[in-house]
Amino acid sequence: MKAFISRRDFLKASGAAAAAAALAGCSSGSGSTGGKTVKIGVFEPASGDNGAGGKQEVLGIEYANSVAPTVDIGGESYTVELVEVDNQSSTDKAVTAAQELVSKKVSVVLGSYGSGVSIAAAPTFQSASIPAIGCSCTNPAVTEANPYYFRVCFLDPFQGSVMANFAKDEFGAANAYVLSMLGEDYGSGLATYFVDAFKELGGTVTSEQFPEGTSDFSAYIQNAINAGADVIFAPCATTYAAQIITQAASAGFDKPITAGDTWESSVILDAQKGTSVQVYCSTFFDENDDSGAAKEFVAGFKEWLNADSQKLTNNGGNDIVAAVSALGYDAYMTALEAIAAAGSTDGTAIKDALFKVDYDGVTGSITFDQTTGDANKDMAYIKKASDGAFSFVKTQSVEG
């Protein structure tokens, strides 16, 4: 005999549970061990389409926090506390996640991976006067007309031109096939910039879009073959990228496949391993860069990752350094520079200090454009995926 709980009891129980949970939820953000703290918000996706990349970015930030856990404000040493929220890669959940950071009274926000959620959250941060530093969101709209949003990475128009120039310079490509996901602003945007740049260089382009949730790319690869493409440009998320690579391999596609920074991930390496497909992507950082700061960062980060199995899982099950982790690290350090320079935990003061920051990060030197808040970056690294690792090909700039 099943016991049915009466409705009244259910209402009472749920009311009590809600009250208890409210108390638990409200009184969070404690745990400071005495002494002053400054809070830095981490606004990243940990689930949803961009969950994987978001987790890797968070790892970079957390590692930076372990390297530099305190900051000097006006002579006093403040402990830096990270407040992490999950925006679920979705613009409607992004607003509540941003609101949570505001309610926890963070001084500066780092993130997000994914331009859409950053754009959605920007008004929330602005009305609370909290500056935000985007780590890897490359859509120009994030910083445009948002005086409180900065970014430490390059922009999509730049990235599109870089890849178009690369296709022309490296492969002498005259015909390109561009594939992006329907409804995804990052991919379609980058695709458009590539198309414009490639046409300007005198090439012809076939451009198609696939619907969300597609697993079967054999038809698209066949379309590319039929169009006589010399190169495929497919700036999409890693899930689809893995499908494209493996299916290109089984169809015997022998031309290079290129993409933007999202493809710099162990998922692509796994997909390409054992096949003869040529895969190139543009990125912000090279793991094998021999210049001092990057080398130290890579060694330290790998050691920190390998010490904890959960962190290894979040990084995709291995210790390959993702470029977004390096960007997360740089964003954190830049934030610390600005906080120290501002001499306070007030958002507006930090924002003003950010404009004047000049920091040498592991992804290059970071200074911000005075009008938009974009980092002045003019170089991208091109990497090739082969045999389970990324090998550095060249650095590419845009001519003119």
């Binding site: 049915f4 709980i5 409705r7 259910f10 209402l11 749920s14 809600a18 949970a21 409210a22 638990a24 939820g25 409200c26 969070s28 940990a46 689930s47 969950g51 987790k55 992490e84 929220v85 999950d86 979705s90 613009t91 409607d92 959940k93 992004a94 607003v95 509540t96 609101q99 949570e100 505001v102 309610s103 859409g116 754009i119 959605a120 008004p123 009305s127 120009p140 709209a141 445009e144 007309a145 992006s180 996901m181 329907l182 409804g183 995804e184 602003d185 991919g187 379609s188 945007g189 458009t192 879009q209 619907p211 969300e212 959960q310």
Partner: protein
């Protein structure tokens, strides 16, 4: 009887005004946690769409899974009409001549100031609902005569078709294709100036709009149309035998439900301050369906209560489950990102399996009990 009704309406209006007054205070007092306000706003928006879905599924018995598609239409219509003309060039930057070139609230607020802004927004909301209703009419023509399960899949299919069509590059100059629409009039544009004091109306406005819309739906349910809908739900053939035109009543229910779903979609756009088609997936429809079921199919107050509970639990109260928590150096197992949604899904399964009727079943919060009707009858007899 008319006096009874007038009293009920007056009481309802006073209750709404009281709620709005409380919210006005909450909006402007500094110690109120901003998360609470955010959850209240989102809860109000979802309350409206849950009630509209309840109207269709619970009161008319038409199992439709297309709500997200109508919300999408409403959201895009509203956004397109209210982006300020000056910003349109940069928002539609990938499409030459993108945008419609004007913004309705802007046009009206020039001559009429704050009132013009309000009128403009109300007009755009109504238009958003109207476009959604128009599509509902077109979709309903082939689909409404299908049986319940087929209707569910057909409406789900239509929602997917709409989502793909809206982001089609060909419509880019109007809808901005795959890119976000942002910068349009949102709730934060509303404020009340009383002399030197400026009162923020960010939480009051969604409640005001939702309250009026839910009020209209309640009026509908308590009218002859509402009784016809319930008859259709209980037994279609008997209803037809009693002279109710099945096709036109089903269509009416579908169109009205979609109208309010469109308005709530527009309000969701105002809340998020940005619109992107990919968020209006079928999973959003499932969430609304779960809210309706948890609140009780056939109960408007149940949907409203369940909506606030659902939003509060999923976005606020359970967030601590996502963070790695240490108790004195010992890390609690299981608590890492993703755990919140697992716990939430388990709670939903428990509610669905053990509390089948939902919180309110099919009763309303302030329903007249039959006993009191008998008492009033006795009173009337005695007073004669």
């Amino acid at each position: 009887m008319k006096q009874e009704k007038k009293r009920i309406y007056l009481r309802a209006a006073l209750a709404l005004a009281a709620i709005l007054a409380v919210l006005l205070a909450l909006d402007n007092l500094s110690f109120v946690p901003s998360m609470l306000l955010t959850v209240l706003r989102k809860g109000a928006i979802y309350a409206l769409v849950a009630v509209s879905m309840n109207l269709l599924n619970g009161f008319t018995g038409l199992f439709s899974l297309g709500q997200a598609g109508f919300m999408l239409l409403g959201a895009y219509t509203y956004a397109i009409l209210t982006i300020p003309a000056a910003a349109q060039k940069s928002i539609y930057q990938r499409y030459a001549n993108g945008g419609i070139g004007f913004s309705i609230p802007e046009l009206l607020s020039k001559p009429l100031g704050g009132l013009g802004l309000l009128l403009g927004v109300v007009f755009c909301l109504a238009l958003a609902g109207f476009i959604a209703a128009l599509f509902a009419f077109l979709i309903g023509l082939p689909v409404l005569k299908l049986k319940s399960d087929y209707l569910a899949i057909a409406t789900l299919g239509f929602a997917e078709i709409i989502r793909a069509a809206v982001v089609y590059e060909g419509f880019g100059p109007l809808t901005n294709g795959s890119n976000l629409l942002y910068g349009f009039t949102s709730f934060s544009s509303f404020s009340l100036h009383l002399g030197s004091v400026t009162l923020r109306l960010e939480t009051v406005m969604p409640f005001l709009f939702s309250g009026i819309c839910i009020g209209i739906i309640l009026l509908l349910i308590h009218s002859t149309y509402g009784r016809a809908f319930k008859a259709i739900r209980d037994d279609e053939i008997a209803a037809e035998a009693m002279g109710i035109n099945l096709a036109s009543h089903k269509r009416m229910s579908f169109i009205i439900s979609s109208f309010f779903a469109g308005i709530s979609g527009a309000m969701l756009a105002m809340y998020q301050a940005s619109v992107q088609a990919t968020t209006f997936k079928s999973s959003m429809t499932y969430e609304i369906l779960l809210i309706v079921v948890i609140g009780g199919i056939g109960s408007v107050s149940g949907s409203v209560i369940a909506s606030f509970l659902f939003i509060a639990s999923s976005e606020w109260l359970l967030r601590f489950l996502d963070n790695e928590t240490y108790i004195g150096g010992f890390r609690l197992p299981l608590l890492r990102s993703g755990f919140r949604m697992v716990v939430f899904s388990i709670i939903i399964m428990i509610v669905v399996l053990f509390f089948r009727k939902g919180i309110m079943g099919d009763r309303e919060l302030f329903q007249k009990k039959p006993a009191s009707a008998a008492r009033t009858a006795k009173k009337e007899v005695r007073s004669k």
